[in-house]
Symmetry: C2
DNA sequence: GCTCTCGTACGATACTCATCGTACTACGAG
DNA sequence: CTCGTAGTACGATGAGTATCGTACGAGAGC
């Protein structure tokens, strides 16, 4: 992976920790790779997260998602989404806000995100899965 | 996986083997899952295969692809594409013809395949990758 | 200060998967 | 029947990853 770990010192420095939060590593727009995005979205858990994010059109904290996994696993999935360039994460107090990177994604791959979301909605409706408006959205 | 292996008898029966070939297991249209499709397409090798298939608009044999892997691996990738519902494979003599399942994909997820292909083309053009017409094909 | 909550980091584990090599089957041509 | 070509099957292997538990860090409220 080309993503370098931020050397975060512990119990030692609050360097990055401003009022709005610590720094999180995001790939630059030009570094977002289609394969990584598809891989991120090929996990049912992560696809669900992205669908909810798109449905709400707003930033959500990690804990607002009702995922059937532990906190550790949730962190893992959000990290994958962030490192693949699908979501942007910002600290806000103790909470971490998650937002879709629509601008970047639409700029790189016009129409892709909407097609993906529509496909996910369609499939959910077809399989009786909930998570968003059933049809005609 | 819900895909059952065909119990293929060896050196015994030519049952399925008609002039046009042996039977290959394909998922029914209703069984194609978005996550599986995305997973299949998240591999650079397989994405490349699909792009060539789409570009040629025709059925191609496995050996017509110039992939930097062995025959075994090639077989593996085509199997993943077939079992995820992305391609349809038909035997024709010793050759195996591969074709995109556009009808099924477009029916299940309208516009998705085109967006995906366009996104792949865009990225290839951006990164200087070859494999298809650079722009304005 | 203490404590509660939100989220991270690390290690472990089990599973998936991309890759290979070798042995094999299936078909077509001589 | 023999040979060559296209592709499969199986086993191995090394890398990736989804999951967990536990210990920890950062901010908010007392």
């Amino acid at each position: 992976m080309a993503i370098e770990e931020v050397p975060r010192r512990r119990a030692d420095a609050v360097t990055e920790t401003a009022a709005t939060g610590r720094a999180l590593t995001h790939p630059d727009r030009a570094d977002i790779r289609l394969e990584s995005v598809l891989h991120a979205l090929s996990d049912p858990m992560r696809l669900q997260i992205v669908r909810e994010l798109a449905a709400k059109e707003a930033e959500l904290t990690c804990s607002q998602f009702d995922l059937p996994v532990t906190k550790s696993t949730t962190t893992h999935h959000f990290r994958v989404l962030r490192e693949s360039g699908v979501v942007r994460q910002v600290y806000r107090g103790t909470a971490k806000m998650n937002g879709l990177r629509r601008d970047d994604l639409d700029s790189l791959f016009p129409g892709l995100l909407d097609s993906l979301l529509a496909a996910a909605d369609r499939q959910a409706a077809r399989l009786g899965d909930t998570g968003r408006t059933p049809v005609g959205g």
